[in-house]
Amino acid sequence: MKLNKILKNALLVVIACFALSACATKKVSTGQMQSDVYTGTDTVEYLASGVPDRVFFATNETVLTTASRETLRKQAAWLRKNSDVTIVLEGHADERGTREYNLALGERRANAAKDYMMTYGISSDRISVLSYGKERPVDSGSNPLAWSKNRRSVTVKAN
């Protein structure tokens, strides 16, 4: 009986260890990044109450995360309510890449956001795209968190 209890405890300890090690190997590096995409609110501004002005990307990626798509849906809803507003989508990249490729990457990111908003009924006449590549970082630090804040597409009111 005692042996069973010991074995049971040992098994619980082993399971606990696996659970902890699973935490250690997850891709989240800090509380503000998930799979290399910034998830925090620092640097985020608002087009209107509850409508964040930007979405973030993983390194070298132009794919929209679930959170990004939700932000863009909110932006689209706000644009439908304010039908005279036109916007510029400003695409950016972090400094860890060559300058010209980063210009193209910024353009592609902004267009990913534009395409998604168009599926929610926003006409392309209202959206223009401008890439800044790595030229206008919002965080001047040289670390993964700073870089993740810089990989962004920002929606700016044009009128």
């Binding site: 300058r99 010209e100 193209a104 001047s140």
Partner: protein, 450 residues
């Protein structure tokens, strides 16, 4: 601009004496040079009347010394020569130019000797110089130039090129200029201006005011035109700038961002990327008839194109395989072949003016490298590693690369700087290229005397 006018309107070259070649001194530039050739650069002799005339005209006390200093500095920065200390010279400049006492020069271990004479004749600057083989006790080369006095620095550079060519067998690269982006201010709001300077850092001039973002300038190999990217009116487009007149014009009428511009080797076309709806392709525009041709046609990002010197091939950067790699294609866009296969990301390919190599930027495991590979992708050699560096540009003789580096900032964003650097193809002689402000995106001109 007066400076350029002087350069290109009034320069005359007169051959003074036939070149004798004995081939006794030779400098090997294909390997790392740990034994730079000891050379004595004697101040050029100058008579009192000429000295005073130039002092009045150019505000230089001793033009003979000034010109020889340019030669000395060029030879030293090439890493191949070791100019000896002038204090040890035993012969006066005027006598040395007529008949060097080779035992004296041998005594201080000079293997080559440069002497010359500067005179003011008919309102012009006349410079003669001689290159001597000290060990053989013979004259190797003698040349003279006549030009307007304000061209005196170019004379120093041309003499340097002649000496370099005679001793290495390769054309020199000293009579050249570098165009780059001068930058200042906080990293989040950098102010950038186009700037141009002589290859040794002299005559630095700003070409734009800094009101709009400017990036990636490139020289026209055949004329005084520059192409670059400008964010004028918040519309990023490729522009042409005439250095002499300061006139700027947008290239073509593209409904979206154009960027990464270069000239074709004959100077007649601009090749660049055009981005639309998330896709960037490479296009050319003929500067005369304005005809636009689409060269790549792929949903990937295609950018940073670079022509081979004969204009028949183009190397470029594409992420069609998932990450940035280097590709080569025919100049009509056919026959696209990937040539970079090492581990890491490759960008900014630039074809050497010699046609034999392609230089590039590589990013691997968080480090940036400047490297070269053969045009089929083989023989990859990394020359230097850094936290951040990119965008190599070749000297016109294909022996030196200029590029730029940025420093890492701390967590408060402090400590940022961007500087131009150069390195020899051998991987040796890495050195800082001084600029009055921070600098990036350098591009090397061809030899001005062509």
């Amino acid at each position: 601009m007066n400076y350029t006018k002087f350069c290109f309107l009034s320069f005359l070259l007169i051959l003074f004496l036939p070149i004798k070649s004995f081939g006794l001194i030779e400098v090997d530039i294909t390997r790392g040079n740990l034994n730079p050739l000891p050379v004595a650069v004697s101040p050029l002799s100058i008579d009192e009347k000429s000295k005073n005339n130039f002092k009045k005209l150019l505000k230089k006390k001793n033009l003979g010394l000034e010109i020889s200093s340019i030669v000395e500095n060029n030879l030293k920065t090439s890493g191949l020569f070791n100019p000896l200390n002038k204090d040890a010279f035993l012969q006066a400049p005027d006598i040395a130019n007529l008949k060097p006492r080779f035992e004296d020069w041998n005594l201080i271990k000079a293997q080559a000797l440069i002497t010359g004479k500067v005179s003011y004749i008919d309102d012009k600057l006349r410079v003669e110089f001689r290159l001597w083989d000290v060990l053989a006790g013979k004259e190797m080369m003698a040349l003279a130039f006549t030009t307007v006095p304000s061209n005196w620095r170019r004379v120093g550079h041309i003499i340097s090129d002649k000496v370099y060519e005679r001793l290495t067998g390769e054309k020199g690269y000293f009579d050249t200029r570098i165009i780059y982006v001068a930058e200042e201010g906080p990293k989040t709001r950098r102010v950038k201006k186009l700037a141009i300077m002589d290859q040794d850092g002299a005559n630095n001039k700003f070409l734009t005011l800094g009101n709009e973002l400017v990036l990636t300038p490139r020289f026209n190999p055949t004329s005084q035109m520059v192409t670059y990217l400008s964010y004028f009116r918040n519309l990023p487009r490729v522009y042409l700038l005439d250095i002499e007149t300061g006139m700027q014009e947008v290239v073509g009428d593209f409904p979206g961002m154009t960027f990464a511009p270069r000239f074709s080797p004959d100077g007649k076309k601009i090749i660049m990327s055009f981005a639309k709806d998330g896709n960037s392709d490479i296009y050319t525009m003929d500067l005369e008839n304005r005809i636009v041709e689409k060269i790549t046609d792929h949903p990937s990002i295609d950018t940073s194109p670079s022509y081979s010197p004969d204009g028949k091939l183009i190397c470029f950067n594409s992420d069609r395989s998932g990450y940035q790699q280097i590709y080569v294609m025919k100049s009509d866009g056919s026959n696209v072949k990937r040539i970079s296969f090492g581990t890491g990301i490759y960008g900014t390919p630039v074809w050497s003016p010699r046609g034999d190599l392609i230089a590039f930027t590589k990013l691997h495991k968080g480090k940036f490298y400047i490297g070269v590979m053969r045009t089929d992708g083989s023989g990859e050699r990394l020359l230097t590693e850094n936290f951040y560096q990119e965008a190599p540009s070749w000297s016109p003789n294909g022996r030196v690369l200029v590029f730029y580096r940025e420093t890492k900032t701390d967590n408060k964003g402090k400590g940022f700087s961007a500087k131009l650097w150069s390195i020899d193809l051998t991987g040796y002689n890495e050195r800082l290229v001084e600029t009055p402000t921070d600098g990036s995106d350098p591009s090397w001109s061809s030899l001005l005397s062509n």
